[in-house]
């Protein structure tokens, strides 16, 4: 075991982690621990754009953006946070441009902007051009630009280090962060990083679904590490299903395709979104479009022999426009489906995309241990966190924005904290829990296999807690997950070595997914209403009287060592906007 000492440690090197690192490295001795090489992070897969009311191409302002964010989130958004997001969006985009990001340009040479779902002028009058973009590789450009600036600032990275435990120590009756424990992929060695401040920026948890736009490595490690140490997870029942994933594969085709004029059609060629969202049509918010697609499929208007998908039609758009604005996704259609989007429509289905919930934080990125108490020295930003700016449903282009705004804020706040505070003493045997977990898995002779359990989990999640949910389906999921968690105790790995043991790490990642799936299902079962991404067929309406509140899920450990999920609730911060019915 090795012990390292840094002022600030950042877990994750995606957009949020690197944006934080650029700030914190300037102000404090910082280490970034990342399980992937920074440029492999899934921020690089983001396509469509990043929202900011620059008003470069038409009238726009941050207040309209705030409203759209709140409405898009079905009023579960904390409005103070959404206002910060929308206001600071403008500088966040300009910062990136100054760092070198090659945005697409208008004829005047300013940053070009395009339409995106749920973003409107003047509180829903008509779609507005708010998304700043670089073709359909905006996330790639953000990730590259941030990495380039990390190189420039001399940020210190520990690549292929997996953080597996969060150290919390009680001092004067207050739980404080003392550091993290990490596993080094290359050697199998365990490292303790003592730090005054820790920032989680470890991304989402989409891999508990089968059809997903998320990378294999998005397994919710940060959420799980904090949850196991008794910290709450907020709003985990809210997961976004993006309408346009490649049929059966889940690879994303950006909403920008509809922003450029793409149309969804059923097997009769009908533009069905006109029925469900007369004003915004194909550009209604994602939960609305995903439900509409499944309604078409269920009512027998789906395409193909099994009627299990619909079409994204780009054939009426000029090939030059597709080449200039959507080069990557048209290539995905060619590579993975053998389809030419100039002439043929692309088969799509909703794909599990984004975790609205996560580690609860305030607007400085400080992690909360209950509804109000801050954990000194602990921060979170990006998809791992829940501020909550996305509420029950995130608007497209608001996440690349979130990682930049709250990545920067948490980087500054954490560095300030480490300048002003001392180290918290490490607990005795700080690495014990990780050592035990790793040794247990390495030595286990159990008969269960990781791949089997993971597939069963994914199939259960797809079938039971996706776009449509009922008491019945969620209960099925809860039971199945309990069974899988039990069987997980008998999981063994074939690779017993130390060097690059990805077999072992996949087993650990599965453990994280199982814990988080349980939290999600239990949270979803208790929310007897429909709101944003959480749609209950048995409770099809939003219920502001009983459920206008955030879910807070805690892990409870019983006397016999068994654990369960305990739910509590937190009020929503409402400032300007009173809840209204959501229409698009």
């Amino acid at each position: 075991m090795k012990i390292h000492k840094y002022d600030t440690v950042i877990v994750g090197a995606g957009g949020a982690g690197m944006r934080a690192a650029i700030e914190s490295t300037k102000r404090s001795r910082t280490a970034v621990l990342t399980k992937l090489y920074p440029t492999r992070s899934h921020t690089g897969a983001a396509q469509g754009g990043m929202a900011a009311a620059l008003a470069n191409v038409e009238e726009d302002n941050w207040e309209w953006h705030t409203f759209d964010t709140v409405k898009g989130g079905d009023y579960l958004v904390d409005q103070d946070a959404a206002e910060i997001l929308a206001k600071e969006a403008i500088d966040a985009v300009l910062d990136l441009e100054k760092m070198g990001l090659p945005f697409n340009r208008t004829p005047d040479g300013t940053i070009d902007q395009r339409r995106f779902g749920g973003h409107s002028r003047n509180h829903g009058e008509a779609p507005v051009r708010r998304s700043c973009y670089a073709a359909d590789r905006t996330g790639h450009m953000i990730l590259q630009t941030l990495y380039q600036n990390c190189v420039k600032e001399g940020v210190e990275f520990f690549n292929e280090f997996y953080v597996l435990d969060q150290l919390l120590v009680e001092e004067d009756g207050v739980k404080k962060s003392a550091g993290v424990v990490a596993y080094e992929l290359a050697t199998g060695e365990i490292h303790v990083f003592q730090a005054k401040a820790v920032i989680y920026a470890s991304g989402g948890t989409g891999k508990f679904f089968k059809v997903t736009s998320n990378a294999h490595t998005l397994t919710g490690d940060g959420q799980a590490a904090c949850y196991r140490r008794g910290l709450p997870l907020e709003d985990m029942e809210f997961f976004q299903f993006h309408p346009t994933g490649i049929w059966r594969m889940g690879i994303l085709l950006t909403e920008g395709a509809r922003g450029e004029g793409g149309i969804l059609r059923n097997k009769d060629g009908e533009r069905f979104m006109e029925k469900y969202a007369p004003v915004m049509k194909d550009l209604a918010s994602r939960d609305v479009v995903s439900r509409s697609i499944y309604t078409e499929i269920r009512e027998g208007r789906g395409c193909g022999p099994a009627g299990d998908h619909v079409y994204l039609d780009l054939t009426h758009l000029p090939p030059e426009q597709l080449d200039a604005k959507l080069p990557d996704i048209t290539e995905f259609a060619r590579t993975y489906l053998g389809i030419e989007p100039y002439t043929d429509p692309i088969p799509i289905q909703p794909t599990a995309h984004y975790a609205m919930g996560g580690i609860p934080t305030n607007v400085e990125g400080e992690v909360l241990s209950d509804n109000t108490t801050v954990v000194p020295g602990l921060y979170a930003a990006g998809e791992v966190a829940c501020v909550s700016v996305h509420g029950a449903n995130r608007l497209g282009t608001n996440s690349l924005l979130d990682i930049n705004v709250f990545g920067k804020r948490s980087g500054i706040a954490a560095a300030k904290y480490s300048q002003e505070n001392d180290y918290v003493e490490l607990p005795e045997n700080p690495a014990q829990q990780v050592v035990d977990m790793v040794e247990h898995l390495r030595n286990s002779t159990g008969k269960e296999r990781v791949a089997d359990l993971r597939l069963e989990l994914q199939e259960t999640m797809d079938a039971c807690v996706m776009v449509f949910r009922t008491e019945q389906t969620i209960k099925t999921a809860v039971e199945k997950i309990a069974e899988l968690r039990e069987r997980y105790k008998n999981v063994s790995v074939q690779d017993k070595g130390k060097r690059f043991n990805t077999d072992l790490l996949e087993a650990i990642e599965l453990g994280n997914l199982l814990d988080l799936a349980e939290v999600m299902a239990v949270s979803a079962l208790a929310r007897k209403e429909s709101r944003g991404g959480h749609y209950r067929e048995d409770y099809p309406n939003r219920d502001d009287v009983n459920f206008m509140r955030h879910t807070m899920a805690y892990r409870e450990v019983g006397a016999d060592g068994s654990d369960s999920v305990r739910l509590d609730y937190k009020p929503v911060v409402t400032t300007r906007y009173q809840p209204m019915e959501r229409k698009y």
Binding site: R105, T110, H140, G269, T315, P345
Partner: protein, 252 residues
């Protein structure tokens, strides 16, 4: 709205899509042996699936010790460059049907970088070369309050080289790099190009001097391996030629 391709595809999908394929993989694990060796695996796979899917089937169902990197699974993150049937490709962007599945499919680590285990190589020298070309925007004077202006044409000038995902497929396909690991390699030059030809940047001269070095662009022998290998379709050799020309004319 025409649907011909799709109907064909769906008909094909209705019949059993699975075929038996042999993967012949170059295994190496110094914890077990200093020698690398080839190992064959037979799997059932739909030819429309990716080589990466095949590797997963092997790892998940047959041999958990098989080790490779991967993340996004759709050609964006640059994790899984490997030599497939003797050519550098991304495993997640190569479909089984496109590489003659009747014969064994050979898979081995990319060349020129030290193999750590099976298909995993040491990427550090590759990233070091990248960091050495100053891969970041350098500007002088006061920051503007709004964005810097750039015309669409100026933006287009370096578009091709912004697409790089640092997968190392190009660099590790280059015979000059195989013989001399000191050579910067195509990927580093591509990333220098991305800034040299960016109208906002003011450090072109410095970067050109770095690449004028004995291990710089002049080592390139224009074999075009890199251009063929690039999974992002970047015209790598052309970018290197443009850097060479800029060094001669000092115009860019």
């Amino acid at each position: 709205m025409a649907t011909p391709t799709l109907e064909k595809m769906e008909e094909a999908a209705a019949a059993s899509p699975y075929i038996t394929v042999t993967f012949r993989i170059r295994r190496f694990n110094p914890e077990i042996s200093d020698e690398a060796q080839w190992q064959d695996f037979q799997i059932e796979i739909d030819p429309k699936e990716r080589v990466l899917d095949g590797l997963h089937k092997i790892k998940w169902d047959l041999d958990g010790t098989l080790t490779f990197r991967r993340s996004c699974a759709h050609g964006i993150c640059g994790s899984d460059a490997m030599r497939i049937n003797g050519k550098n490709r991304l495993a997640c962007k190569t479909l089984i049907k496109d590489i003659n599945p009747e014969k064994p499919i050979t898979v081995e680590a990319i060349k020129g970088l030290t193999v750590m285990k099976d298909l995993v190589v040491d990427m550090e020298p590759f990233f070091q070369a990248y960091r050495d070309v100053m891969p970041f925007l350098v500007t002088k004077g006061n920051e503007p309050t709004r964005e810097r202006l750039q015309s669409a044409e100026d933006r287009e000038r370096f578009d091709d080289t912004t697409k790089c995902i640092l997968c190392a497929a190009c660099t590790s396909s280059c015979p000059v790099f195989w013989n001399d690991g000191q050579y910067f390699g195509p990927a580093a030059i591509v990333n220098a190009h991305r800034f040299i030809f960016d109208s906002r940047d003011e450090a072109g001269e410095q970067r050109l001097e770095i690449l004028n070095d004995k291990d710089g662009v002049w080592r390139c022998r224009t074999t075009f391996n890199c251009t063929d290998a690039c999974p992002r379709g970047i015209e790598v050799t052309k970018a290197i030629q443009e850097v060479k020309r800029a060094l001669i004319t000092r115009r860019y």
